[in-house]
């Protein structure tokens, strides 16, 4: 090696380990600017988000996004013409209810029994509802299920059209007040409140 190239002894540190010494050359300026920039950023982040409270922390931002997504879904359902009124209207059309009954017997009766008086699933003929009594509430339960309580989500399996039919059919069961499973949930009265 060329000895003339060793001319940085002013930067050589005093300590040595096993004869290995190290230089204290200046760090690249770009590296230092990243360091200073990070310090300024973290201070600004701390002040703006934690001290002043302007802007959302990640968790709050996520919650906002989730609410916005739910509202978007609702809006899309409404765009498809779905409403309490439309479901109730559908429940009055005999041909549609024949289809709805067929679906009900095939998919729902295993838990709610053929007449809707309930076994594993709640009694659908009484005036008590666990997850709200409006037709749209029923539609939501059928679509998304309540897995923790044993109600399956049917949205993906049946598709939107058949979910509407079977929801409308369930509206026709209400008010029959058949003896069966004991009432569960809250009392809402005889008429569904649309």
């Amino acid at each position: 090696m060329n000895e003339q190239n060793r001319h940085h002894d002013e930067n050589l540190r005093e300590h040595a380990f096993d004869g290995i010494q190290e230089y204290d050359n200046k760090l690249p300026n770009w590296w230092l600017w990243i360091l200073y920039g990070s310090i300024v950023f973290s201070l600004a982040y701390w002040l703006v988000l934690h001290t002043v409270g302007a802007g959302d922390l990640p968790h709050a931002a996520l919650e906002k996004d989730m609410i916005a997504a739910a509202e978007l879904q609702l809006a899309r359902a409404a765009e498809g013409g779905l409403s309490n009124e439309s479901l109730q209207l559908m429940a009055t059309i005999p041909a549609r209810m024949a289809e709805g009954e067929e679906l009900y017997l095939q998919y729902c009766a295993v838990c709610h029994l053929n007449d809707g008086s309930g076994s594993v699933g709640p009694n659908l003929t009484d005036d008590y509802w666990i997850h709200g009594n409006t037709p749209m509430d029923q539609h939501d339960v059928v679509t998304n299920g309540v897995t923790a309580k044993g109600m399956a989500a049917w949205g993906n399996q049946l598709g939107p059209k058949r979910v509407e039919l079977v929801t409308a059919y369930i509206l026709t069961l209400h008010g029959k007040n058949l003896p069966g499973k004991a009432p569960e949930g809250e009392y809402y009265g005889e008429e569904p409140t649309p």
């Binding site: 090696m1 940085h8 729902c108 044993g150 399996q157």
Partner: protein
């Protein structure tokens, strides 16, 4: 940079004690590598041309309806040459990266940093594309240095504007090619034609990557390899005296001196090897952390040796032992250990990847009560989680397993959804009820539900436990 530092940096030569690309005040010493021709350059150009096509084209090639290499972040899945991986397979990425890492280990211990000089995208794009454009617009090394030191003239301004314009345009293209690995090409091409307001997030990613690439290829360059890339730092632990590296034959070259001088070696100290170096080292100081094994200095020195009528190879590929005039050994313990670890990692990946199932089932006990007491007896509620990991729609059948008879013949299984249709990569939670007459129950009983993929007939069993008081 003040004048004293500037003067010092003009006189400065690469050494082992400092990083040549950083001046004593921390400012950047920008390199202007000279042109070099030779056999290694020809080979690199061929390899780089192929690699450019591969790096830019992979997301556009479809295998089995999906891009050859694609990471779908939104759906948490990845496609790799016709195989689909979901988030459930994420652990496999460890073995994949281990495989890549150990391939580098094996190659490095055999032939040094071949990857850096011949295949790394940083080199392929920087040396193969950007440096070339810079050379076309700004001329050879001498003229580039003179112009950069000189005052701003119309000519300098135009050339700089042209160069940076071309760089930004290319970075924009390369940034989108990179994003295509993470966003379906059709969506990307569609998004490019629309207003940024329609897809703000993707637009910001596109601009950020364009900016980052431009910063990297226009200014940062070798600093990425020298300070940011961890692989170069491993060099000293991966190579040994038997590794083939690029080196300078000290025994033949020293002492340096002018041609035809008495008692000097073959090195005429022309500094060609230093001037062509893209990372600013003097290879005659020995192998260094900065060396990306680009082989520029080999071709530069061979050209000079040809001119002065000396044999080629003063700077060449050889092992440290070879430079000392000893025989080179190929097989040694280090290599065998790397090979064994490599085979283990890759073998495990291949085994696990081949053994993946295209659906996954797991059982969860419903939260809350372990059991309920009803008129019919004891009732348990389970929830089974089914995930379709294949890339097509599938229907799954749910039924009690054969060992469910252990619950007695009066047990009732209520399966609201005994057929579940799932989209590609879709998932569902299915509730299941089991009722057992009170008098039939003695102790908690384990049994299984079976889930069958109707397309393939593959059956997965999932274990649950019937509980009571």
């Amino acid at each position: 940079m003040n004048d004293a530092v500037r003067r010092a940096s003009e006189l400065r030569k690469p050494d082992l004690d400092t990083m040549y690309t950083i001046n004593s005040d921390g400012s950047r010493n920008f390199l202007h590598p000279a042109d070099v021709k030779g056999r290694w350059q020809v080979r690199k150009n061929v390899i780089w041309s192929v690699l450019l096509v591969i790096y830019l084209g992979l997301p556009f090639v479809k295998i089995g309806g999906h891009p050859a290499v694609h990471v779908d972040i939104a759906r948490r899945s990845a496609y790799l040459f016709g195989n689909t991986f979901t988030n459930q397979d994420f652990h496999l990425i460890f073995f994949l990266l281990l495989g890549f890492g150990l391939t580098l280990f094996v190659v490095t211990s055999l032939y040094g940093r071949l990857w850096c000089g011949f295949a790394c995208p940083q080199t392929v794009f920087l040396e193969g594309v950007f440096r070339r454009i810079e050379r076309w617009i700004e001329g050879p090394r001498g003229r580039r240095i003179q112009r950069n030191l000189g005052p701003m003239t119309a000519d300098k301004f135009l050339r700089k504007a042209l160069k940076h314009g071309a760089f930004i345009a290319l970075c924009w293209i390369f940034a989108h090619a990179f994003i295509a690995y993470f966003m379906p090409v059709e969506n990307l091409l569609d998004a490019v034609r629309r207003s940024p307001a329609d897809h703000m997030a993707a637009f910001i990613w596109g601009m950020a990557w364009t900016g980052l690439l431009y910063f990297n290829y226009a200014w940062f360059r070798e600093q990425t390899c020298l300070i940011i890339c961890p692989y170069g730092r491993l060099q000293s632990t991966l190579i040994d005296p038997e590794t083939i590296i690029i080196g300078y034959d000290e025994r033949r070259g020293e002492p340096r001196g002018q041609l035809h001088q008495e008692g000097t070696g073959d090195c005429i100290d022309c500094l060609r090897c230093v001037n062509v170096c893209p990372t600013g080292i003097d290879i005659r100081n020995g192998l260094q952390m900065e060396c990306i094994a680009c082989s520029n200095c080999i071709d530069a020195c061979d050209t000079v040796m040809d001119k002065i009528g000396k044999p080629r190879g003063l700077i060449r590929y050889d092992s440290q032992r070879g430079f000392e005039g000893q025989r080179h050994r190929l097989l040694r313990g280090r290599l065998l250990v790397y090979l064994a670890a490599f085979a283990l990692g890759v073998g495990f990946f291949a085994w696990r990847a081949g053994d993946r199932t295209f659906f996954q089932v797991s059982a969860l006990r419903a939260r809350g009560m372990p059991y309920t007491i009803t008129e019919d007896g004891l009732r348990n509620l389970y929830s089974i989680f089914v995930q379709n990991k294949s890339d097509r729609e599938r229907t799954f059948l749910v039924a009690p397993g054969e060992d469910a008879v252990a619950l007695g013949d009066r047990a009732v299984f209520i399966i609201p959804q005994d057929r579940v249709r799932l989209d590609a990569l879709g998932e569902a939670r299915l509730p299941l009820f089991v009722t057992v007459p009170r008098e039939d129950y003695t102790v908690p009983q384990e049994f299984h539900f079976s889930v069958t993929d109707s397309a393939t007939g593959t059956v997965r069993l999932v274990q649950v436990r019937f509980r009571g008081p």
